[in-house]
Symmetry: D3
Subunit: 337 residues, 6 copies
């Protein structure tokens, strides 16, 4: 089967154990993650061939990060190692109950931010691919990262590869002198599938739902597809966050054929909410590639995302059979022998 | 006071910390347990003299397992050590929320499976005993284990010792060439107290509740007692599992004088669900031996089982006073100074 | 800004990890705390200048305890080190669900209990202070501790410093030959703000709410203020404890102008309930010193206490901004980036 | 085989992991030990029936301590639980290289110190015994502990049981108003085997080696045996401590037939030096009981002590076969498969 | 560059932390290793393309093992998963000083032992290979494992691929009814490079060094090469084990052109001695493939093996540059910034 | 007593436990350190009043770092918090035996590097000071850091405060466009005490020892004092590094009155070598301030440095009494009770 290829930065995540605060921690747990890489790794766990393309500093940290994704079965052979630049980091404090989790980013001047677009030969990278996925975070990191994204999309389009994007607008990240509003439309217009919340649609594209719309998401999604005709599917999760320890999510999908959604999944306690959206995307890609209908793909994606909330780390370490188990309604957690 | 004697295999349990998946674990927590041994250990914690009879490989692992039950006050002097055979293991992954806990067994060819029935002198072992408890798992392990169980029951009957059994039918375990349906009736007929769910009654003895019965358990239990007249009490817990982290249980008892049940106990979060049934049995035996009436014994047993769900490991590490505290209605967890 | 000064014993707290029982623990987590010291430390975290006055044995343990409060920014320069006496300890077992947390105290013969009142020069200690806080536990420890408390209050009154007390009656602690009922009134009469539950008011001062009172706390508080005219504010939290893992609390305040209370805060799961009351007091002092009105101070105090239940250890390691975040209604724990 | 019975206090030992200092530790490792109890436990590990007699507070800590010795196979049935008194503690900081390990004791007012001699029925306790062992530490703890020791020795003598003592003089411990020099002679005179260093002999009994003696230990031992004619064997280890991480020890024995010693054993690195002397005694008792000649018993004892230095905790967790392996000259640590 | 391919069983290794004994461990560290797989992984760390061929049970344990080798860059695509059979285990207790490390194997009835030789298409597996390595352990596990080894060697010979073997005779392992002395010659005769100690040569092939030989290894090696003319190089390490914590090793090589050896490397403390021989082989293969002369390859191999003793786990997690650093004489461990 | 003030960057140090490699670590130990801050903290542990001046990012990481030095008693009130810039980090892998420890720095663009010299009011900061210490690393970080250092030295000189410097030349650090050779002379000329190795003297100042000098250090030091007449004392340690686990150090001092040195201290095993030089300086400052003669101060300094090698973390957590214990010759690590 042909590969799914993702592109973006991988960071080291440093987190106090349990619910400790950073100032209490005499040791920090180390994992690695990044929005796009999480999608690739989750797909690999689901059993699909996945490759991630990134850029690391040429030191022990970059090599350790490579190892962790290789361990999960992600093809990391296209990794570029640079002599300069650092490995991006983020510090995660896991909240509980009414205390929110919080993140301190420390990712500026990473090797990825300094990447040279010419270092990536997209024809070669994508020659065995059927799908390319990227996120708005990559475009936010640096002009060269945005340019590499642009080239990847262009090559994918030429090669007839499906392209998906998680637009994921993070205001504070955009600091290299260009505005998201100027950069993102040119990238999104080459995509077939887009993850986009109403808030991001408004901030990035000035698209708002009709005032009288019953369903804000559907209304926005229709306009988005009209603006960018290449887009055939707009997806998102809706969260009813009860507390840092209790989450409820449903999946939403809009196509030219209309809107559908899943029931809510209830997750309590939440073990780790990071990567829940990436797991949703991976689940949806899995469903699409396996030829499921839209309802089934959406349900699979949402169940996968719900499961992710019970797994430590950024990546959804579950098999397709485990997601199917949830899809089939086995959500009461009976012991499996 | 005379001893309660249990007989069966003890396994090493290896479990990732917290809710980690096996593939994430760089270390595994080690405890030891087995259905019958858990009953003995729980009884010892409740303050009764308990002995467990088992067979271990004659190596560091067998000795370590012995130590852990000896630590809890279980009389382990009848342990048989064999030069061949291994220590049975099981790997437990603790789920959370809608992700179920799961177990990988690795128990074939254990020293216990290879035991020689002649190695156990039941007259000697039971000479200070008032109660013998065994489980259907022991009978499932090997022909020789089943034979030893048969001999133990026979001797106990001869000596006027009360016999209880947890029939606990695990389909996959029965692999030594005999069928549970052929073996178990001969063993159960020597028992005074039996733990049996409607499902197990159907699978093992072909007993089903009356179609129109209000209470399936009671209907089944009456038939079971009619089939095996030695049985005077049939008990079980009923679980309304909400999720891997949230359990609700009640206790049920059927005697010739009728059916009774407790209210539901609500347990959230569940710390460790393994051994909940064994704690229930230990609580019931404790109540019987202490001469409580059936209602009180059933309530004590169910409260003990509920408490077990808050304790790490297979064994219910609680005192009788702690169970009484719950029985008295103190379930809101107020700090004890 | 002038300091808030607290006075009392600090103990080493030894606690098995997670929900393990003491007998299971091969290692114990070490923190340090004490009712009054927790208030000082919580105030320091909120950004106010706080000093704690105590007495330690002159050994590694006393120095380690000093370090931990110094770390949080508490001024520890008035610590008295004695060659005799030990560091008080307590062992905390953290419960879960219907199993209560429990504490084994091991604090007799501590250096603090043996303190010499003459070792504390309160004029000097309080010369930069605006507030003095003490608890009934200090008065319970030894005659000399009670005497030092008496002197501190007297000096504070003379210097026009606000005095607050958490009366906190612990029956078993009073073992040095005097009765709480004889000692406490003389201390409480010098206080401006008092934390007192109806139960403690009855036990210590023989004050009971009017039989027909709608609000037992308010009725009691009014009587208390009448008995001790220096008292202007009586505060307390009310807990609806659901289980060891689920707490609901509201704040209550009675002044000469009447009674007010907050809505309930829901905390599930509870990470650590120790010090919840101390966090409430620190929050209230913070509000008072920052000139908030009574409603706002009470809400701030209760939100601070709720947050404390999500923090490991005795001390409320949160900033004022984090409390304000909760006060502003952000209790659903949305990830902060 | 008849039991070896030991008598004395057991303490909880709290130790930072690795070589951390107490002030650095956020968790402390918990083990339990005591000079005499270590001998019993080491003997149980060697395969002999051993019982320890002690007194604990009737709380979770006392029960946890009991469990740990019961785990190792020590008969703990004679334990007396008192409602008052605490569990003695000691804090151990493990040094390295030129930094010494250090201990902070926190053992005053323990339940053991408060023991009632009448609570111990020595005729009953010693009815299945062949050997009684005690240490000078027990006599140092309190008058009642010394009195119980005196009674135990008297009963043992009457019953023809061998008595051994480790005189182990710790100046600071003797604080109950009697002097070691007054108490110890009356106890030692009832002993058959005594562990005594030249320094202790001088401090306790005023016995010094002859000025011109080639061998100070032998000279002292002869005088000791002359003073106390019941003593037939005086033993000790000699340490050439190179650093906290490197120890060299040999064993020395003096009987009426003369002096012998072993070669030095070299231990680097030292894992844990606590209990090295107790392991030596246990080894010597083992050798005596198994009828070895004096040279063999001494070599076995010294090899056992050397092995102890490689084992975490107070107790020598080695089998007799493992000691024999060292005795046979296998000290190069070749991997055993 | 063409791959190096290894074939053999991978086991889960369970080890108490630090120098704890198995009976003390409440948690076991998990790593994975196997003689041949360690060679592949060490080569991958050195930067060469390496593939390992093995057979796992089709469960979480097998997949976790796969992940760990994939993480290090080993090509695991030829892994066969079986529905039956278990993952082999071994328990390692790490000694210290004069206490030896020891291993309890628990590897019978593994999926690997049950492998079907027909499941491995060696033409396909070896089509990109330049080197095949196997060990005598694989041949010892089962008749089918030996048969698969035979086929692999035969195919490699046909394809002109270099074959190496570590004869590694473990008496207790050979339990499937054939004798090592009958099986091994037929396998070894197809090898170009052989690791063999004089002891193994005698046990397996009846080859002994000349009585008057100055150099027993060289004498044996010459005879071995004469007996099996395909063999061009015989290598081994010689250990002067000082203690479990202190090792000295040198490398030895015999070719038709004569004998050479390295100086001794001194390793103190030893962090982990498992896999030291496998690291030596990987180093030698690296040297050969990189076209170094025999002396340089031997020195590189021995330095690699010395470094392995400082690395936790079975695999030599060092880069080629790190080995070169040692080869260049930098053995004093100066801090690298 | 007046304060010792130090100035420089503090980094978070992240280190795998034990001797694990970075790629193996699922958790990293967190401590904080910096060349100059380590001196302040070591002095605080020795009992002298010490203040450290630095600049942190205004986030949880900066506050956590502040806490750790405040814990040790360092006055951190002059800390400047900036909204931009990050906390510098370094990753430390601890070697063993012939494998060297290694560091990956990740400190560019730190808040400290971006500091504004005007943010430090040196007249105010130094008003209670008797000593100022700085290192060449501070001058290497950025032009503004060097400028702040220059101002601090100038103010100190004006106020008659002793100034010491550790010239510590790290080639790779100097990246802001100025050369160390141009910057350092202007800073060093204001110093009274300088730590300088012959290598650094040559690299920074072009000073080489006389070719025929018996003692290269003394020859260099004389020239250095001639070049910079303010310098009265040049000190350094000499290391004979045996391996990553075994260090030998002596102290050297050159004044206008000549050269002296200590004997070598032998440290095996080395627990943590980071900060050994800083401990030496702190010890020397301690000796000077306490009015010891040069020989005694040098011995104290060297003993302090030796002890540091046995302590985890950057800071020498030892009391003056503990150093004196070593100075008095107690280097065999006998247990202290």
């Amino acid at each position: 089967m042909k590969q799914i290829v993702t592109f973006g930065e991988i960071m080291m995540r440093l987190s106090p154990p349990l619910n400790y605060r950073l100032e209490q921690a005499s040791e920090l747990e180390v994992t690695y993650g990044g929005g796009d890489a999480n999608v690739a790794a989750s797909l690999a766990c689901l059993g699909l061939p996945a490759a991630h393309v990134t850029c690391f500093p040429d030191n022990q940290l970059g090599r350790a990060a490579t190892q962790q994704f290789r361990r999960l079965g992600v093809n990391m052979q296209h990794t570029v190692y640079r002599p300069d630049g650092r490995l991006g980091l983020y510090f995660l404090e896991v909240g509980a109950s009414l205390r929110a989790s919080s993140i301190v980013y420390d990712r500026y001047d990473s090797a990825f931010a300094k990447l040279d677009p010419a270092a990536f030969n997209w024809e070669e990278i994508l020659k065995d691919a059927q799908w390319l996925h990227w996120t708005g975070i990559t475009a936010a990191i640096s002009a060269s990262a945005a340019e590499a994204t642009r080239q990847a999309i262009a090559v994918a389009r030429r090669m007839g590869i499906t392209v998906s994007a998680d637009v994921n607008y993070r205001r504070n990240l955009w600091q290299y002198g260009q505005k998201a509003q100027d950069v993102m439309p040119g990238l999104v217009e080459g995509c077939d599938v887009v993850v986009c919340s109403p808030g991001d649609a408004e901030d990035l594209f000035g698209i708002t739902a009709d005032e009288n719309a019953d369903n804000g998401f559907a209304s926005m999604a229709e306009k988005l597809m009209r603006r960018f005709p290449q887009i055939k599917q707009v997806i998102a999760t809706k969260r009813k966050t009860q507390s840092a320890s209790h989450e409820r999510i449903k999946g939403m999908l809009c196509t030219t054929e209309g809107y559908r959604e899943t029931a809510y999944f209830d997750i309590t306690p939440v073990v780790d909410r990071i990567g829940g959206g990436d797991a949703f995307i991976a689940g949806f890609v899995y469903g699409q590639i396996n030829g499921r209908n839209a309802d089934d793909a959406l349900l699979f994606a949402t169940a996968a995302s719900a499961l992710k909330h019970t797994i430590h780390g950024d990546v959804n370490l579950v098999t397709a059979a485990e997601v199917e188990h949830i899809v089939a309604g086995n959500t009461t957690g009976r012991l499996l022998r």
